[in-house]
Symmetry: C2
Subunit: 199 residues, 2 copies
């Protein structure tokens, strides 16, 4: 849906995107009807279909925006960092901070995973994140900092820790993102048995 929008139009559109994103995250995709959204905003149904071709399209846009925003945050967090292990760490910290700051978008991604129409987008985004992480791991292996193994398996493990700890501790138990990031990084770098070498 492409329209020439005035300032007012852009504001309305943003309002719809924002409100819908929160409703989707709270109630799920199917349980959030277009009628719910427009009623919640106190506008007529036509407004929705003036800005979006379908409920699907709106959801896709929200999802794509969220993925883009998270990735940008990760990229800028590791931009001026040479050491691959430090890049990996900064990437994790950036993810946890971002996901903790936008819990409804985090929930929305989880949601999209179980919706066949959107699962492909999520998986694509995940693959990008894994590829990024795997690059750091490979580099670390090349310089001998990291012992051998499958970089993709390691990258997926890192992703698993990051996502799960953020959801369980930051989102559900309200712990501070920085503390959780410390725990997540320590776990991924040193595992359960080793004591982190405190320089």
């Amino acid at each position: 849906m492409d329209r020439r929008l005035t300032r007012r139009g852009r504001a309305r559109r943003d309002q719809l995107v924002d409100f819908a994103a929160r409703r989707f995250a709270e109630n799920g995709y199917h349980s959030t009807s277009v009628t719910d959204i427009v009623n919640g905003l106190g506008v007529g149904k036509g407004v929705f279909y003036w800005y979006f071709a379908s409920k699907d399209e709106l959801f896709c846009e929200i999802l794509a925006d969220a993925q883009r925003s998270l990735r940008r945050r990760q990229q800028q967090a590791i931009a001026d960092e040479d050491d691959p292990v430090r890049r990996l760490e900064q990437g994790m910290r950036a993810s946890i901070t971002w996901l903790g700051a936008h819990p409804h978008l985090f929930a929305l991604v989880q949601l999209a995973t179980s919706e066949e129409r959107f699962a492909g987008m999520v998986r694509a985004g995940e693959d990008v994140a894994v590829a990024d992480t795997a690059r750091h791991v490979k580099e670390g292996m090349a310089t001998g900092r990291i012992p051998g193994g499958d970089p993709f398996a390691v990258a997926h493990a890192v992703l698993g820790v990051t996502n799960h700890l953020t959801r369980a501790l930051v989102v559900e138990r309200g712990e501070k993102p920085d503390d959780v990031a410390d725990a997540a990084v320590a776990f991924c770098l040193h595992g359960i048995l080793a004591r982190p070498t405190t320089p």
Copy 2:
């Protein structure tokens, strides 16, 4: 729904449970209609409501069965193991094997997470698994095998690695459960940086 069932009745019920579980896992909860299920089995709609009070109830039953089955597998895997670290490892291996052997039930649990009605059940099951794991971690800390930290955070991290690696590598990429279990265990015990001590 409680009924006196003959052998024939029990067979029909099992057939419904099994077929529905696979459809749910493939197509999602909302996209799998009761009509789909009964048509897929070539029976009338009344058959469904003879055995189940509602679509909800059927889904709950499938989910609860899956959780019970997984937990039993975990318990029997660690039954005669004294060392807490080995218990933790055996629990991970049992989970990965079970999830890999029942990918549709794994998918179904993921599904249930994003469905407000069922999310509570999933979280309860997760809490049980985390509590189990955390007990091993605490014990390991008590005997000095594991350095200090938050046992719950560690347990959640282990769960994150187990679930994510199983999904990404076993289910989606078809890798062998045992190999993935090796990688998962190595990651959790030694992290990225340390080289596993091969005795």
